[in-house]
Structure formats: structure tokens, C-alpha cells
Symmetry: C2
Subunit: 221 residues, 2 copies
């Protein structure tokens, strides 16, 4: 199955700006991309990064054997159009977001092993974090309530639909509160939790609720 | 398997106070409890509500055939102590929170069908939204990073551990932003989405992000 990984290479993760500088946001985004690609490779699939601008993967911290199975396609169009340009074929296509820092091979396999014409792993707020399309007439629209909209579109084109119930795939890392999940559930050898810890983030408890806090930045970084 | 459903009957869901009055919060909490009990009954299990004060289930909107399979135990102690008083037996015990408004029979069965000594469905922020305990020495501590703490405690008592990866079980309804999930993923015949809609909540889109908004309250309510 072809797996497409959309990646906004320029000024990524702006909603993390309250807690991370632009350079740090790029570093976190690249670490999450590297983690997602590594996880995808473990499922036995090859991935195509659908990047908004050219990216030099050699500069990212990605294992050589993962890099071998990854290609880059540059498409400057908005996400929805760029993804739709890859659909419309008889071959199944998976689309997995680059910020699914909690993804594991097992979670992705539950998605890939579905049999429905359209299988969706929803994200919070009615997002579509990952999906598999096995119907030539189905098209995506990532704006707004995309999970609900994709359900409706599947019905409109007569495609069967399955929803994959996964916390790991539902958790895209967009906002400061999401960083907690990276520190709690990130895999031991993953890059994103390591980068966050290097940036000084750690779990803290306030009034019985768990958040992240940041130590004074290390000036040497 | 015995299933315990802790329920704070007095002043529930205070973190929803920015958008719901105390009476409405009680109504939403009771609707979620009814939904959870209905779902549990569909899995074939009987439930014991572990309530902080006596509750009259007859006053809640619960189907009679569900009510038949539900009992109430009153325990005024804090959550952790009240739950631990039900553990320590050789029989497996499940603990399912009353605010898992998105729970489905399939999601709960994935938890119940585990075989590990301790199986946890984590919630966001390192919470423990549902768990099954099959080890007489394991005890809970719901304070703070309970998911991480429960993992550690399982290891300490030599209990095997499994984590259940479910968005539906990870989504407890605590804060206004969580209401989006009830409206998007609540089952068609569920009470909680119906109560929220009666309160005037609906999905709205702002800058491509989905939230809930509330229409002017109906003065007749």
C-alpha cells in the first residue's frame, strides 16, 4: 500500500508557539516526522513524504535503513488538493499525518488491515489523522469537521466505511497540552520525546492535573 | 467480571462550569452515567455504581432492563480508597469511569478481553479511564499521573500489564473542549449528546478548528 505522509516543512506547528521558538518547532516537527517514518517502515510499508517545499531528509535524524524506504514529493498546493492528487486510483492509498508522535506499528496495522473502502482514524475535534482509501471516487477535505465530512462523502460515493478506535492515532501534536502525551506515551527509542526533554520539558502536576513545564532553557542549545 | 463505576453524585463535573450551570452539569453527568451503564449492559456485564452519596437511579433516564443489572454501593471515601476497598480479591474487577461518554461495547470488550493481570485504558494527561485488575496485590492511585503510576505499581507487585489503545476510552468528558467529542462520536441513541443539544450546544467551526458553541438558553428549560 502506498503511504503518503503530508508534511508542512515551512513554519510548522505554529500552535506550539506559546512554548517553542520557530527553530524548536521545526526541530520537534522533524523529530515527529522521523518517528512516524520509522514506525511506518516497521509495518513494512514505504512512505512518500508530501512536502510543501523541498526537504533534505539527510539533515534530519533518520536511520539510513528507514531513509531507503522513503521518497519525497513536493507539492505546494494546500493539503486537501495535494492529497486528492494522489487519490483516484484503483490501488489503496493511506494518508498518515506527520505529527502522530504516539503512533506504533500495532496502531497503524489496525488501520492498514481494515477492509472497508474508506477507513478513518479520527483525531480530536473531528479531525482525520490517518485514513486508508480503497475507492477511486473518494476525495478528502481536511477543512473543519473532516471526520464527519469524510463519513458523509464515503456514503455519497457508495464507499463502505470503518472507523479505527485508537488513542495513539487520535493524538496529533498541535498544542502545548498535547506535549504531555508525547512524554507519557512516546516510545522509548523515539526522537520527539527526546527532543522535548532536551528543550527542558518535563511532566508536572498541578492540583492533581498533569501538564508539561519547561525548565530554564539551556543557553548552550 | 464485576464492573465498578465510580460516580461523584454531588456537584459533578465542576470543570464544565464555564459553560454549564450546576443543574445542567448534574444532568449531563447523569446522562453520561446512563450511557455508560447501557453500554456495559450490552457487553453482558453487571455494574455496581460506586457513588459518593446515595443516588436514586429511578430518577435518571435509564432503561428498566439496564437498571435491573445495576446496583449502587455508597462509599463516601475519596475515589482511590473507595476503589481499593473493592480490589484485593482473586476475582477480576473492572473499574470504568462514569464520564466515558464515547464508550461502545466494542471498545469495552477490547478492555475486558485482555488477559494481563492489569489492563489499562489510559486517558489524556496520563489518566486511568478504565482498567481491569486480575491480581490480588494491585491497588490504584488515581492522583496525578495515574497511568504511569499504575504501570509502575503493576511492575512492583509482579503483575503483567497491557495497555488498551482506544480513543473512545481515552476520552473522558471533563472540560468544555471535550463536549465536541460527545457531539461528534456519541452514539445515535445516547443520552449525553441529546442533553447537550437540548442545552443548545452545537458544533461550530472557527478558523478551521471545530469547537462547540451554545445558542441562547431556552428560558423554558
Amino acid at each position: 500500500m502506498r503511504v503518503v505522509v503530508p508534511f508542512a516543512a515551512t513554519a510548522p506547528k505554529t500552535r506550539l508557539s506559546p512554548v517553542l521558538s520557530p527553530a524548536e518547532r521545526s526541530r520537534v516537527a522533524e523529530a515527529m516526522l522521523a518517528d512516524v517514518l520509522t514506525t511506518l517502515t516497521e509495518t513494512g510499508h514505504e512512505a512518500t513524504i508530501l512536502a510543501t517545499t523541498p526537504v533534505d531528509l539527510e539533515e534530519y535524524d533518520i536511520d539510513p535503513d528507514v531513509l531507503e524506504r522513503v521518497s519525497v514529493a513536493v507539492d505546494e498546493r494546500p493539503l486537501t488538493e495535494a492529497v486528492n492528487a494522489r487519490l483516484g486510483t484503483d490501488d489503496p492509498v493511506a494518508v498518515v499525518m506527520a505529527d502522530l508522535a504516539l503512533a506504533t506499528p500495532a496502531a497503524l496495522e489496525r488501520l492498514f488491515e481494515t477492509e472497508a473502502d474508506v477507513a478513518i482514524a479520527p483525531g480530536r475535534g473531528s479531525g482525520t489523522n490517518a485514513l486508508v482509501v480503497r475507492h477511486p471516487e473518494f476525495r478528502v477535505d481536511y477543512h473543519g469537521t473532516s471526520y464527519l465530512d469524510h463519513r458523509e462523502r464515503a456514503q455519497d460515493v457508495g464507499a463502505s466505511l470503518e472507523t479505527v478506535d485508537s488513542f495513539r492515532l487520535a493524538t496529533d501534536i498541535d498544542e502545548p497540552a498535547d506535549l504531555v502525551e508525547v512524554l507519557v506515551h512516546g516510545r522509548d527509542d523515539a526522537r520527539a520525546p527526546a527532543v522535548l526533554r532536551e528543550c527542558g520539558f518535563e511532566l508536572t502536576e498541578t492540583d492533581g492535573r498533569v501538564t508539561v513545564s519547561r525548565r530554564e532553557s539551556n543557553p548552550s542549545k
